[in-house]
């Protein structure tokens, strides 16, 4: 049994998928169904590094923000009068929070290098979170974005010498895939709201930035990740069944995800072959 729990495929893929399916189905009739994303991620954390928070490293700050994101998301979703300013405000706050996450690394660099890295990471996190939040009304597109962003950050993380970010990205992908399945099985869309999209956007943005700062991910892979939320916003025929539309959005997301993965591959191998 211990061998199963220690296997990376179980830790990052199977366990988060199963837990996210359970949470997704259990909460499908509530506005909290997309807590499945954080449930899957937390499962991976529990099976791998655990929940120690001292010293407060980059990885642990990422876990803390991953836990905080759905709480903020629920609060935003429950506002009686949603404002247009919420989405950009959350994106800007996420960008600022990324500076806190990477503060210990930025402090060790020379001022000019720290400014460039800090501004770049904060901008990337803000834009990716903003792009993902835009999908909050669309259950299939939101799920496909999570699938693509999770796989892209996970595989790119692995190619950048980080098993930790690989498992984290795959866990988000598995959880988002679970939410696609829940919608297909129940035959109805479940809007991710801020709860789902903020969690997906913030976690995957921090995974990618972490692979850049703590491992070997090239900087040019980061803007390429923005293609994923753009791709799932492409049109798909409305008259088709839910399962076909889910498949189309998943294909959009996976094709877009392949581009930053190829960038990480290129950085690792010096060619695309």
């Amino acid at each position: 049994m211990n061998e199963l729990f220690d296997h990376p495929a179980f830790q990052g893929g199977v366990a988060p998928l199963v837990i996210a399916l359970v949470v997704g189905f259990a909460l499908a009739r509530t506005r909290f169904a997309w807590l499945a994303i954080v449930a899957g991620y937390v499962t991976m954390v529990g099976l791998t590094v655990g929940f120690s928070f001292t010293p407060l490293t980059v990885a642990r700050k990422t876990i803390l923000l991953g836990l905080l994101a759905p709480v903020i998301g629920i609060a935003a979703d429950m506002l009686p009068r949603p404002s247009r300013a919420i989405a950009p405000a959350l994106a800007l706050i996420a960008g600022a929070a990324s500076l806190w996450v990477f503060q210990t690394i930025l402090q060790q660099r020379e001022l000019s290098a720290a400014l460039v890295a800090g501004t770049g990471v904060a901008l990337f996190v803000a834009v990716l979170v903003g792009s993902t939040i835009r999908l909050r009304e669309y259950g299939l597109r939101g799920g496909a974005a999570g699938l693509g962003l999770g796989l892209a950050t996970g595989i790119a993380g692995l190619l950048s010498a980080s098993i930790g970010y690989f498992l984290a990205g795959v866990a988000v992908a598995a959880s988002a895939g679970a939410m696609l399945l829940v919608q297909v099985v129940l035959g109805r869309r479940i809007a991710p709201g801020y709860t789902g999209t903020l969690t997906i956007g913030l976690l995957t943005a921090l995974f990618a930035a972490g692979s850049l700062m703590l491992a070997e991910l090239p900087w040019y892979a980061l803007p390429l990740l923005l293609l994923v939320p753009l791709a799932v916003a492409l049109p798909a025929p409305e008259r088709m069944s839910l399962i076909v539309r889910a498949a189309i959005f998943a294909v959009y997301a996976l094709v877009a995800a392949a581009i930053p993965i190829l960038a990480a591959w290129y950085a690792a191998h010096g060619s695309l072959t």
Binding site: D6, T48, V49, G50, S52, P55, T57, V58, A59, T104, I105, Q108, L158, L159, S160, A161, S162, I163, G164, Y165, G210, M213, L214, A215, E216, W265, A268, H269
Partner: protein, 195 residues
């Protein structure tokens, strides 16, 4: 009166100098910080750190001493830096956040808290290792130690070998346990010149 006091102070100076521990600086060319760890229960992987520095102080008469070593975590070397057709080498992976997290914690330090002697030689060094922002006690056993006296052309020089063990999970480095062992064996071999 003042003349007698001055004589007394001058007479006491050599005693004061003799009581102070002799400071030494590690000679990196003739020192190494090595480690070994179990892999899959099949074999032992050996590694070392290529950049480090440190000082120790020794007072054999008072049987006292102190050690402080700082190690550059990014200099980890397991003789596997050529990735070949793979995406990344083992050493690149060891530098990442999965293990030494060199970008966030570029240095680890060992500071002694007590040096116990057997005869004229240090036998055990109790101290603390700070790795990944976590400080835990680590005791080193001095397996050999010898000093060569100063000559007309060279300063006094001491050398030795110390070994110890630690659990990497105690420092929060828990990735891939048990495939890669938890217990790490340390061997520090050094030569140092008297300052």
């Amino acid at each position: 009166m003042s003349k007698s006091l001055a004589v007394l102070i001058l007479a006491a100076l050599p005693l004061t100098a003799a009581a102070a521990p002799d400071p030494f600086t590690l000679d990196p060319m003739h020192s190494s910080v090595n480690f070994s760890i179990d892999h899959l229960g099949l074999t032992t992987i050996y590694g070392r750190f290529n950049k480090f520095g440190g000082k120790f102080a020794l007072d054999t008469a008072a049987k006292a001493g102190s050690v402080e070593v700082t190690i550059d975590t990014a200099s980890v070397d397991t003789n596997e830096n050529d990735k070949g057709s793979r995406a990344r080498s083992r050493d690149e992976h060891l530098r990442s956040a999965d293990f030494f997290n060199a970008a966030e914690f570029p240095r680890m330090t060992y500071k002694s808290t007590k040096v116990a002697f057997t005869g004229d030689h240090p036998a055990t060094i109790e101290g603390t290792l700070t790795l990944l922002g976590v400080t835990k006690p680590v005791t080193l056993t001095v397996e050999r130690f010898k000093c060569n006296p100063a000559t007309a052309t060279a300063k006094e020089r001491c050398g030795g070998v110390a070994v110890g063990k630690l659990k990497r999970s105690d420092f929060g480095m828990s990735r891939a346990i048990p495939s890669i062992g938890d217990e790490v064996a340390l061997t520090v071999a050094w030569e140092a010149n008297k300052d």
